[in-house]
């Protein structure tokens, strides 16, 4: 394995969340009844003409700036010709010679340090409709999605493993979410990914032919497909043969890729200048306006968190790994006015919960305000840490506020030394054996006694105070 190097390039399609479709005034929305969100333009009726959507270009430029690309000076569109039932005009309006954004890169964090994955280009194009294959031998077509604006992000083959691919995609997805130009939901198809892969035998200096794996619809599939292909390509090299240049499909059930078509049969797209769209100049001022209006990006935010909140790099990168999480954390910190406390709670309790339930933050029953209320109890010592954790669990389950739960169950921490003294006396009286054990040097006995105190106070005893008082009382005995 040592001498093999895997080269992976990704092509990622991202649907832009513009108000309208790319070339007509139909709304850009998901989930309408079939063929009810279409007009002559996006249906490709004879005679209908496209006119470019400004917001779509703005969003694409924003993505280009976020990924450090050079922005083209003029918008020139091309027709990419192929026949397919979900394509209304027999060509897709896309870009060939003059992609809107050129070059650029995205940095991923590896154990050995950061790595730049270079981009080839980002271009804009329109989405197609959707096909549904029914069981009774028909194909049904819905064109509501036809004409939704997309950006296609093409990387250079700088990715060398499935793990790097996953890290790249996560970073990309996160950055786009920060920008707010797409909801990047793979399950709704607003982010789709193709993989180009081949393997080099570095010693013998031979390389396999590139295979393209189309339409992967989860990061998991991307990882599995790369791993499967990597193996297939290496086996070919070891057998002294080679892979064919071809397009393949990933089967999620078997975890294997299957041949779709040989590349030499692949369609010749016959790119042609789209003369229906007069080129539009992109002025420097416009780019600057877009740059100014751009939201903070993950890397910037990470650096700011380290500086403003005195977080270490690890914590800062965890807290900025998704836009929602970073916003949640910031709002929480503002409310409780304790960056460290907020970070601890978000990173342990909130993130654990998300992981356990495999959920997004937005699906969780928790606002920063609600959590802040709970943390105020912790900060002021009215509720102890363990109780607070239990309260949070209940908040997530019932949606009730911290105050309600604490009030209803009387969970305010007992700091009152008189009350604690009474409980501790009772515990000492009822557990003489343990007291003796502790005196004889068995430290574990102290834990048992503390447990009894907590039991009697339903966990409300201030653990520090109770612990101190218990030891004092035993020693005085």
């Amino acid at each position: 394995m040592m001498s093999y190097k895997t080269l992976v390039g990704l092509e990622i399609h991202v649907e832009l969340m513009t108000e309208r479709k790319m070339f007509c005034n139909c709304k850009n929305e998901f989930g309408a009844m079939p063929n009810t969100n279409v007009c002559p333009v996006c249906l490709g009726l004879p005679g209908a003409l496209p006119v470019m959507d400004k917001e779509a270009v703005e969003y694409a430029i924003m993505a280009g700036l976020a990924f450090n690309c050079e922005i083209e000076k003029t918008i020139i569109m091309d027709r990419k010709s192929y026949f397919y039932p979900d394509l209304t005009k027999g060509y897709q309006i896309s870009q060939s010679d003059f992609p809107l954004c050129k070059g650029g890169f995205l940095e991923i964090d590896l154990d050995e340090g950061p790595k730049k994955i270079r981009l080839e280009r980002i271009h804009i194009e329109e989405d197609t409709g959707k096909q549904i294959h029914t069981e009774n031998g028909t194909t049904l077509l819905d064109f509501n999605r036809s004409g939704v604006p997309l950006i296609e992000i093409v990387t250079k083959p700088d990715i060398n493993s499935s793990e790097e691919a996953r890290l790249f995609l996560e970073k990309l997805k996160n950055t786009i979410k920060y920008l707010g130009v797409s909801d990047v939901k793979m399950e709704e198809g607003s982010l789709r990914c193709d993989v180009n892969i081949n393997v080099i035998d570095e010693e013998r200096n031979i390389r396999t032919n590139i295979s393209e794996i189309k339409n992967l619809n989860s990061f998991k599939s991307v990882v599995k497909a790369i791993e499967y292909e990597q193996k297939r390509h290496i086996e070919a090299l070891e057998n002294g043969s080679n892979t064919d240049k071809e397009t393949r499909r990933f089967n999620e059930l078997t975890g294997e890729t299957i041949l779709m078509r040989k590349k030499f049969q692949a369609s010749d797209y016959r790119y042609q200048f789209e003369a229906d769209l007069t080129p539009i100049e992109i002025k420097e001022e416009w780019i600057n306006e877009i740059r100014t209006a751009m939201p903070e990006l993950p890397d910037q935010k990470k650096r700011r968190f380290m500086k403003d909140y005195k977080l270490n790099e690890y914590d800062a990168s965890i807290l900025t790994q998704s836009k929602e999480l970073s916003f949640f954390y910031e709002e929480l910190t503002d409310l409780v006015n304790d960056a460290k406390l907020a970070a601890n709670w978000v990173m342990t309790d909130v993130l654990r919960r998300l992981k356990e339930e495999d959920k997004e933050l937005s699906q969780l029953n928790l606002t920063p305000k609600a959590l802040a209320e709970l943390l105020d109890y912790v900060k002021s010592g009215k509720v102890n840490n363990n109780t607070a954790k239990k309260v949070l669990r209940e908040m997530l389950e019932t949606g009730e506020s911290a105050k309600n739960i604490i009030d209803k169950q009387g969970l305010i921490q007992i700091n009152d030394e008189e009350e604690l003294s009474r409980v501790i006396d009772e515990v000492i009286k009822d557990n003489q054996q343990s007291v003796e054990d502790f005196k004889n040097g068995k430290d574990r006995a102290l834990g048992y006694l503390m447990g009894q105190i907590m039991k009697k106070t339903k966990g409300k005893a201030n653990p520090n105070t109770a612990n101190k008082m218990l030891i004092d009382k035993i020693n005085k005995n």
Partner: protein
Amino acid sequence: MISKEEVKNIAEIAKLKFGEDELEAFTEKFSLVLDFVHNINKVDTEGIEPCYGISEENGFFKELEEEQTLDREEVLKNTTESEYGYFKILKVVE
């Protein structure tokens, strides 16, 4: 000159079909036209920009206006077959 095979291949890309006889005649006519077109090879176009639209004006963006969405009845009016609001063709999975 262009061969019959090449013409066949172009027909495949253009999704058209010609009978053998037609193909023969077609290849002949095609060759004539190609000879004629090749005349442009004489022109030196070194350093000349392709014409991306004849207009000297800058292009413009779409004006935001009410959507021109069609009623579904209108959408499906001109198709041969439809079902449940979808266009319908026989299953043609590759």
